[in-house]
Symmetry: C2
Subunit: 426 residues, 2 copies
């Protein structure tokens, strides 16, 4: 008998079928009946089981032959499968007691969840997170491809110092020092010279401090870079349209999974674009004086609150970021000390850094020097610019941050399948 | 004036347009005319330029305002753009002499190509390779998603010994030893317990020897794993259908790019499945005695030739691989010494290893012991099996190998944007 998947059951009312999956729950109803909730890749269904002889423990893998019935009371698509206990075959038996609950009512610390990752990922809550993440990533790619971006897969093993050192993980490469890449920036720019518009979905490594609420040592970067722009505004427009598309896809495909977290999928209108200077003024007006340059975490939360109050938007672009806070390849603005770069803040957390880049060879060499680098060491990178580069720019997005913010998770770690932080390597 | 892309030109015959791109070639025709071939993301077109005052060097980035004309002689979609030299604006000037040709006639060694990567990737030949690779990867994902596989993104930073040591790159993780992952195998299996069917596209790291014809230190792995299989045959069937889909997509979208390499897109019929023992017999019959166990490179070429002669197929599955040559999680066959695992060989090169895995907890613990490992150290991995795992299996595919074999490239390095091998780190 061929297996029927749960989502196909409604086409087989009255028929005998064979279904397979994991026991999600088992409930005895008197001596002669039991209810089993079965889980597999296409969903869950209810099995009404006659003459049960023994309890089936949760997570046990079974094969069931039964008859599909309409049952208005059933939460599972108005369907249940009636089976005699004899027709249930145990494929893989789980122990009677699980070390940690996979039901969603159980209060479990995240550390415990990770200690039992293989088991707790099977919970509705955690499996939803990564289903949503997969869809965010796929929708990003779809949008990029539709807009004639070519996907690239650049190396994650780089030589020292390419981006001015910083917090990188060292790799022993056949006895030589190399590092895990902090960003595909240089390769994206190189490939703008080839395909004009490129994107990459890939791992990004940052040996940063231990603020595991927002930092991961390894995260999934969504990167894009586009040539022949007239200004940085086009990058923000592209990102805004991308986010509209991504959230649109989520709304149409995963509404149930997202609503599980008690959140709404944001409707993105026109994302406000305010300059860094304007943002600082707004924050100072409401929260008092700000010291130093650049946004800290608190300010990200503050500006989000202000914008939310003002126009109801959960996203805000902060433009004209101070040039001194930006890497050497950033295009300076006409306004002294400003740059053509931006951040996108979503519900109080930066999820994107982007901007226009310097495309003129001489200007880029100058900027390297001003920033204290030796252009000789950047020869390979500079080659793209020596041989014809159009005005261009792009941005890098942290996937786990989008997911964390969308679902109101406590930490960005919770949006990583096997999170790596300074304090955690499980 | 808004930019028109080259692929939109045919809709604008007789109109004035603004186009932008790189000078692919510049050819003077007498004193009053010049032909420019312009390249951008959607293609190439020909510009006929009146009253040129100076030569535009190759790779220079320009903006041109001109009139779209039908020109039957033009190789570029029967179209050309007529422009006065005054209406050509240089955006980014390339030097008169390029250090290496990007035209396809130039004979350049691969080392030289890599030394000038930013420039040589702009050649039709090299840019085609990575356009094709992007499409292979995307088609793989499309097929997987269509078949209800969920995409995962597992960590590439792992602890020592997880897969029994081997040739791994060591990473300094905040002062602690860790390694770059050799395979997402353990995470794929863990996620079978969650989503039943999963796939991953991600970097795989192998600190292997220097046979750069077939080994990369970093390659793009296409991995899949599926639960509730009846036998390993279903894995091969899934892969066969996936390949049919991928090559079908290539044929419909990138025929021109592939034909550039003078190759045909293979029509995949039913890929022959022969056992390891049968394969050895066939090889011995034709080429004489074989020593040792397992296939070497030469034998992969030999069996491909035999199969090609016999039934015209460029692919062949070698099944029932010797168990001793396979990792501890491999499902043993009923036949003594054999395993339910396979390789897929494409034109003389292995592009896939796959198979059914052990899903029974006790059997897996036994197998760990038999293979000399301590089950205690595999507790996290074993957890999936302790708490209910269905029969399952999967495979891992080397993207660069598929592309190399399809396009008859000399080495697998040529299918990597920034190749990493033992002898090469540029």
């Amino acid at each position: 008998m061929k297996r029927t998947t749960i989502k196909e059951l409604h086409q087989k009312i009255g028929e005998e079928v064979m279904i397979k999956g994991w026991v999600e729950s088992y409930r005895r109803l008197g001596a002669k009946m039991a209810f089993i909730i079965l889980r597999e890749r296409t969903g869950q269904t209810q099995i009404i089981c006659h003459n049960p002889s023994e309890t089936l423990s949760k997570q046990t893998v079974i094969e069931v032959v039964g008859t599909v019935k309409e049952e208005k009371q059933s939460k599972y698509n108005g369907i249940e499968v009636a089976a005699s206990y004899n027709n249930i075959k145990v494929i893989s038996k789980a122990p009677e007691e699980l070390p940690v609950g996979t039901s969603n009512k159980t209060e479990t610390t995240f550390t415990t969840e990770l200690n039992y990752n293989a088991l707790t990922l099977r919970s509705e809550r955690r499996s939803n997170i990564f289903k949503i993440e997969a869809e965010v990533i796929n929708a990003f790619r779809e949008f990029m491809r539709y807009n004639e971006f070519t996907e690239i897969h650049s190396t994650k093993l780089v030589k020292e110092g390419l981006e001015g050192g910083g917090e990188m993980f060292e790799v022993n490469y056949f006895g030589e020092k190399s590092y895990l890449s902090q960003s595909p920036q240089f390769y994206k720019q190189m490939m703008v010279g080839v395909y004009e518009r490129v994107f990459e979905v890939g791992k990004v490594y940052r040996a940063e401090g231990s603020n595991s609420n927002r930092h991961l040592s390894e995260y999934i970067g969504l990167d894009m870079e586009m040539g022949f722009i007239n200004s940085v505004e086009e990058i923000m427009e592209m990102e805004e349209n991308m986010l509209k598309y991504v959230f649109g896809v989520l709304a149409s495909k995963l509404r149930r999974e997202i609503e599980y977290f008690g959140v709404n999928i944001p409707h993105i209108g026109n994302i406000p674009r305010i300059t860094y200077t304007e943002a600082i003024e707004m924050i100072e007006q409401k929260y008092g004086n700000v010291e130093g340059e650049g946004f800290n975490n608190e300010m990200e939360i503050q500006i989000s609150e202000i914008i939310k109050e003002k126009c109801g938007e959960e996203f805000v672009f902060i433009t004209k970021y101070p040039l001194s806070k930006r890497p050497f390849y950033t295009m300076p603005s006409e306004e002294e000390g400003c740059s053509e770069s931006f951040e996108l803040i979503y519900k109080g957390m930066e999820i994107t850094t982007g901007g226009q880049r310097i495309h003129n060879y001489e200007q880029l060499v100058e900027s390297l020097k001003t920033n204290g680098f030796n252009p000789k060491e950047y020869e390979k990178y500079l080659m793209s610019f020596k041989y014809g580069m159009p005005p261009h720019g792009g941005c890098g997005i942290g996937t786990e941050r989008i997911v964390k913010q969308l679902l109101n998770l406590n930490t960005v770690e919770q949006a990583s399948l096997v999170p790596r932080t300074k304090s955690r390597f499980v």
